[in-house]
């Protein structure tokens, strides 16, 4: 018992390999990509797109239905189940989740995590209820943020409603209710490919002790490691760079090779 942990002494250093997560949007069962949370552009059939990412052995996939809450619809359970059955990497789903039954249905269809957005604000006790049954690791809270005259401000309902809170205290509150992860999204950078909002990411990652996923603004692969190196993020998510190619933004599903990722994050 002198050196109980010695078998792992020569393991690679302390943090897991940072995750690089395609963040995919669906609206009415079609895969789309937005700019600043509006003007959704049609990309293709979600099953095909997920299958391609699957084949690329991506670290994880985040799938968000951007229309469900707005329309007052439940999550598209059937689509989620079909996607999850194809998915052999971790999958997170968000959009339209209203209660613990929705959480159960989504998680039991083969999805690892739920992403709670509007409902996390309106009924934060759902965060706690979901984490108590399924564990904190299964509950992600998304924090969608705009820069306003008042500073950083959190919005729900796909950017439609300001909640009058700054992202740091909002994320802290979500974590105290039991969220196992925070997805921080810059609405201003969404689809712009101008790079991540590092100040925003830093304010959130300094406020919480759970992993933070940075999202919004990645425009080239070199952007990916920056939130991790410079702003305390644990993982990065991106949409445009994994679905578009070239200045005309032609649709081309892509993901870096493993060696390329390792070089980027070295």
């Amino acid at each position: 018992m002198a050196e109980p942990m010695s078998p792992g002494a020569d393991l690679p250093e302390g943090v897991p390999i940072p995750r690089v997560i395609p963040c995919l949007l669906v609206d009415d069962e079609a895969m789309v990509k937005t700019v600043r949370f509006s003007s959704p552009r049609y990309l293709g059939d979600p099953i095909n797109v997920i299958n391609l990412f699957n084949r690329f052995e991506v670290d994880e996939i985040t799938l968000l239905d951007i229309g469900a809450t707005r329309r007052g619809d439940p999550p598209p359970f059937e689509l989620i189940e079909r996607l999850a059955a194809e998915c052999w990497v971790p999958l997170a789903y968000g959009g339209g989740i209203r209660n613990i039954e929705d959480v159960r249905t989504v998680l039991s269809s083969g999805v690892e995590k739920v992403v709670l957005g509007t409902v996390a604000h309106d009924q934060p006790e759902l965060i706690t209820a979901a984490a108590e049954v399924y564990g904190a690791q299964a509950v992600v809270v998304s924090v969608d943020v705009r820069r306003t005259a008042a500073g950083f401000e959190v919005f729900v309902e796909c950017g439609g409603r300001a909640v009058g809170t700054d992202p740091a205290s909002y994320a802290q509150r979500a974590a105290s209710f039991g969220a196992g992860e925070i997805l921080v999204v810059s609405i201003d950078r969404d689809g712009t490919m101008e790079g991540y909002d590092l100040e925003l990411i830093r304010t959130v990652s300094e406020a919480v002790n759970v992993p933070v996923i940075a999202c919004g603004g990645a425009g080239e692969r070199a952007h990916l490691p920056i939130p991790i190196r410079e702003a305390g993020a644990s993982a990065v998510a991106a949409g445009s760079i994994f679905v578009f190619r070239g200045p005309e933004r032609g649709v081309l599903i892509n993901y870096p090779e493993r060696e390329q990722l390792e070089a980027l994050f070295a």
Partner: protein
């Protein structure tokens, strides 16, 4: 080895009522094995391979096994028949004597208890849960990791980890802040802290090894 690659073999995934079980049979299907999700003691009694998954809280999972009346059949399969059993994620913690997370005793097949990740005194603050891909360094007895090279990587999502009393039970180590036991192995009983069903080709190989009975012995 009585069975090859799952043919004619009865593989069950024990359904303790919580969380995401469909992904495991989906993965096994890629290996040509039809696994059944079940909470039926009779069905478990005739199984050749048992997978014990788990997400969520320790007590909830143990209580569920008790309420479903599965403890006796699981003990019989594990300790008397010595059928290969694989605990996955929380299912690995259940193999031990208990957990800091709860009050109920575990299955007690592996000597040790689960504890919560401790923040490092000297390093940067450790974010908990440990979430994402990380390496597993198999030990010599890590037959579950056959054909996987020196440092295969897997998907983790957990806040607690098992601490073994007997180092001979350790089948794999991972570092998160400090090194922790990410796989255990004692005879026919194995446990893995990560999610093979979400670790694409790496996870597929672990399942392949488990079905082939490589870890049995």
């Amino acid at each position: 080895m009585r069975h090859r690659r799952g043919e004619g073999m009865s593989v069950v995934v024990v359904n303790a009522g919580i969380g995401n079980l469909g992904a495991i049979p989906n993965m096994l299907k890629r290996l040509g094995t039809a696994a059944r999700i079940t909470a039926d003691a009779g069905e478990i009694a005739t199984a050749d391979r048992i997978i014990l998954p788990g997400v969520g809280a320790f007590d909830a999972a143990m209580q569920s096994l008790v309420d479903l009346g599965l403890i006796e059949v699981l003990n019989h399969k594990a300790l008397d028949e010595r059928v290969p059993i694989l605990g996955v994620c929380l299912g690995m913690a259940l193999l031990g004597a208990g957990s800091e997370e709860g009050r109920l005793p575990g299955l007690g097949w592996i000597a040790g208890r689960a504890i919560r990740f401790q923040p490092d005194d000297d390093g940067p603050p450790l974010r908990i849960p440990h979430m994402g891909w990380n390496y597993v360094r198999p030990t010599d007895s890590g037959a579950l990791f056959a054909e996987l090279g020196a440092s295969p990587r897997f998907y983790f999502a957990h806040s607690y980890h098992l601490v073994c009393d007997d180092q001979a039970d350790v089948a794999g180590m991972t570092r998160y802040g400090h090194p922790f036991v990410s796989a255990v192995h004692r005879g026919n009983i194995s446990g893995i802290q990560f999610h093979p069903e979400k670790s694409h080709r790496f996870g597929l190989q672990v399942f392949r090894n488990f079905l082939a009975g490589l870890a049995d012995g």
